[in-house]
Amino acid sequence: MSFIEVSNISKTYKISKRKSGVPGMLANLFVPKYENKEAVKNVSFSIEKGEMVGFVGPNGAGKSTTIKMLSGILYPDTGEINVSGLIPYKQRKEYVSRIGVVFGQKSQLQWDLPVIDSFELLKAIYSIPDDVYKKNLDRYMEMLDMDKFIKQPVRQLSLGQRMRADIAAALLHSPEIVFFDEPTIGVDVVGKDAIRNFIKDLNAEDGVTMIFTTHDMQDIEKTCNRLVIISEGSKIYDGTLDGVRKLHGSSRQLDVYFMNDSEVAEIPDVEIVEVDKRHSQFIFDGKKVHINDLMSHLLGTYNVKDINISEPDIESIIRKIYSREKVAG
């Protein structure tokens, strides 16, 4: 039995469907139309203690719904969730005292109060013992560099500062599992790095189990060792980050810079992305297209200034997986 065990969970939302404008509104008033949207379809997975798992998927893929079911906010329609013997949505009160959740888009701090006052309130809510509270607070203050804004009201903080305060708030009671729902959304590069490093350190030092959702593949590359890809409510990949790369291991990307503006003609079995008039990307399968042939073709046809060959980054691999899924589905 794993630490977190999820078997065949599904969740369907009823969405009101109405045409736009006044006629649509009137029609909807008398004959409301609903459409069922399956946000999560039969998803199963298990997670061990101390693991760091990233959930990725396009908007509306069902990541957040999955996280919300895992954190006990939503009931799954069917299927079961078991976290070290507890059922999150049924034993909510007992369960949530052992987890921490960070929503990138919703702050759980008190808007009008200084950050430290929100922390004090959380101390009372979770009955955190004085020594644990002090130890955690000191540690997060230093790791997240919060002394500058800890006494400011939350509404005066920058997004990056608020995010750091929110993360500290979710961790004050030393939770065993932490959920991050898009923790770096809208945060600048330096801030993102600080957040990622903090998350990584905490996982390494305390063995806290961490579950992420994100759109930013950098988040995943820099923190997680396991990746779950969700698309249109179904799990389509579950494994290591390297595994994804290997799935597309023979794929190569050739960046070609031209001396002058060039129109690139089609080449069989090669995907061409025109970045601008003087820069095109050629993506191809190394097993199907021989690199020598492609290079000599390009050098012979165009006036080439520079060439760079690389493996496609994880982002474009994932993009490919999504689009393939859409074609298949």
Partner: protein
Amino acid sequence: MRLSAYYAYAKKQFLSRSAYRFDHLMGILSTCLQFFIFYEIYRTLYGSKESVDGITMSMITTNFVLSLGLSAIFSPNDYFVPGRIWDGSISTELLRPMSFKGRMIAENVGDACFNLIFKFIPVLLIAIFTTGMEKPAGIGNMILFLISAILGYGVLWTISFLVQMTAFWLINIWSLITIKDVFVNVLSGMMIPLWFMPDWMAGVIKFTPFASIYFTPVQIYLGQLSISEIVFKCGVQLFWTVIIYALGNVLWNKGQKKLVVQGG
């Protein structure tokens, strides 16, 4: 049960209410205005008459001071749940290791304490010095009045709770809350003392929970009820509190399964 957490919420609410001083002054003013409008209407209606149907002007005054005063204290926040469902922040509330309903009551109690000290007492003092309000019929009546007022709060709170629970399905329940307010204001005797209702209507109102919110405490305060009647009417208050709470709780349990977290 971790009481300190609920206490922290009550205190937070109390403190954040004190942050908006202008709003609070206006609150006192609006309660005073309501009181004096009703007071003047009935004074004009009474003219030089001592009493109508055995009801004296001072009894009317007492009814308004107490029921408007209690309503100023109670004022449960009808938008607590709907607001949180509407903007999706209910998700963070459900992540707290405490009873959601307990937390809801804690905030309301924080509010009520604030209203008692900063709204009810000023209005009461103004009314005592400017109008002929009756004294309580006795010390025993005063104590029973307080008990019955707390039970009345229970009835009002559970009605609000029941209405709020419909927000799980309806999301926006502004109109439902307005309808509830009309029922509470008219049928509780807050606007028209229940003594003056026509017999058939008084007979109907007797069987609704509304009459037991303010009117029962007022009758106890004035010494209009015998001990056995007091016990019965307080029992009715308790009965309604339990029944309405149970209904609301059914919706609460179903609603959690229906919950749609809006906005991502």
